[in-house]
């Protein structure tokens, strides 16, 4: 039963519940008109304490397409946080007006804190470099729809694996499936946090390896998940400039990959995927954007009890 629940991290959803959400998203994708009114009268709050275009618009579009409405703010400067209001007070206030809250906050653990003070569902739309479960749902829906399932896949995670929250969430979620293998491709400065390898991979018996060069391993991959080296995650600009071009996917590297590879990216990209790759049928990142809206529609419908 998903009605009334919070979604803070991917592990909050069982494998069965993820399947349930993905199945509903696929039904909506096939026949959106059948779901155009299921959230009529319900309000989604989008509380974005950090700038985001894609995720916020995706949530808002999702609610509108379900027949509901939304309110909220697009950056912290427009909220009472600038007056010094605590997050718990903001949440208690907003929860009095709305039916479900999607929140992005630069601080890690902010969504968990919000869930402790809210009697309506909190959806974590990103908490700093920590978790981003709806991007994970998007990624899972994309993989399931194109690859037909989640088992027996070799997944390459490439780029900023240290601060990239989408990577952490996806790694946790995919570790629950059978015979999944991870290849972690990053500069040593941006390797995946130790808690993911020690608490997730080792505990789940997941095979993984660490690599520095994408071209050395791209031929082994079924899924390549590229990430942006995000400027705002660096403490100084020099480090950013030194590392940002380390891992760029282009047609030369794509020649080394399997025909069945799919390339995913949470977007926005800067230059880590050359535009020439966009025409390659294995590039799935723009399909992923659309899947994101359907995944959020399914999630909102389930958490609000509309379906």
């Amino acid at each position: 039963m998903l009605k009334g629940r919070h979604l803070i991290e991917p592990a909050d959803l069982s494998i069965k519940e993820i399947d349930e959400i993905c199945s509903l998203a696929e039904q909506i994708l096939v026949d959106p008109a059948a779901f155009a009114d299921v959230c009529r009268g319900k309000i989604l709050a989008t509380l974005f304490f950090e700038p985001s275009t894609r995720t916020r618009l995706s949530f808002e579009a999702a609610m509108l397409r379900l027949g509901g409405s939304f309110l909220g703010f697009a950056d912290a400067a427009a909220s009472s946080a600038v007056k010094g209001e605590s997050l718990s007070d903001t949440i208690r206030t907003v929860a009095s007006y709305t039916d479900v809250i999607a929140m992005r906050n630069p601080k890690e653990g902010a969504a968990l804190l919000a869930s402790k003070y809210s009697d309506i569902p909190i959806i974590n739309a990103g908490d700093g470099g920590h978790q981003h479960p709806t991007q994970t749902l998007t990624d899972l829906l994309t993989i399931r729809s194109i690859k037909g399932g989640f088992n027996d896949l070799t997944i390459g995670l490439c780029g900023d694996l240290k601060f990239g929250r989408t990577v952490h969430s996806l790694a946790k979620a995919m570790s629950r499936y059978q015979r999944v293998k991870f290849i972690l491709i990053s500069p040593s400065e941006l390797q995946i946090p130790e808690y993911i390898t020690s608490q997730v991979f080792k505990r789940s018996g997941i095979e993984y390896s660490t690599e520095e060069r994408l071209e050395d391993v791209i031929g082994d991959l079924d899924v390549l998940y590229m990430t942006r080296v995000q400027k705002e995650r660096f403490f100084n600009e020099q480090d950013y400039i030194r590392l940002k071009d380390s891992y760029i996917l282009d047609n030369e590297k794509m020649k080394l990959a399997k025909k069945s590879l799919i390339v995913l990216h949470p977007l926005p990209r800067v230059n880590e995927i050359a535009p020439e790759v966009d025409d390659d049928p294995r590039a799935a990142y723009f399909k992923q954007v659309k899947f994101g809206m359907y995944a959020r529609m399914a999630l909102i419908a389930k958490l609000t009890g509309a379906i």
């Binding site: 890690e108 653990g109 902010a110 968990l112 804190l113 808690y195 020690s198 608490q199």
Partner: protein, 146 residues
Amino acid sequence: MLNVDTIKNGIVIDHIRAGSGPRIFAWLGLDKADYCVALIMNVPSKTHGRKDIIKIDSIINIDYSVLGFIDPNITINVVVEERITKKINLTLPERVENVISCKNPRCITSTEKYIPHVFKLVDKRRAEYCCEYCDELYRAGIGEVM
């Protein structure tokens, strides 16, 4: 060697890592006690070289689980009528609250000051705990007590 009288009814916290005694003394609020208490430091020990001991001349309620987090080698003897009636060996608690603080500057606890700092045991063998909010890892007993 310094002699401290035996206690009649109370608690002896023994095998404290040398130097940690004052921290535990403060944690238990013994500096405000109105009964007889003693903190003995750098006592010669066969197994540890040196150790600290705390003697409390009163049966008080102690949060043993927290002491297990600070130093699981500590032993606690309950004394009744000058005889040890109970020995308590400490283990790592599953959860500690407001014992250490999360040092991750990106953690929500760094800005929302009213939240308790909660850590969950994630690896018993390595005595590893993670922050409930940001998952940052910490070793039991290391770091400043809040």
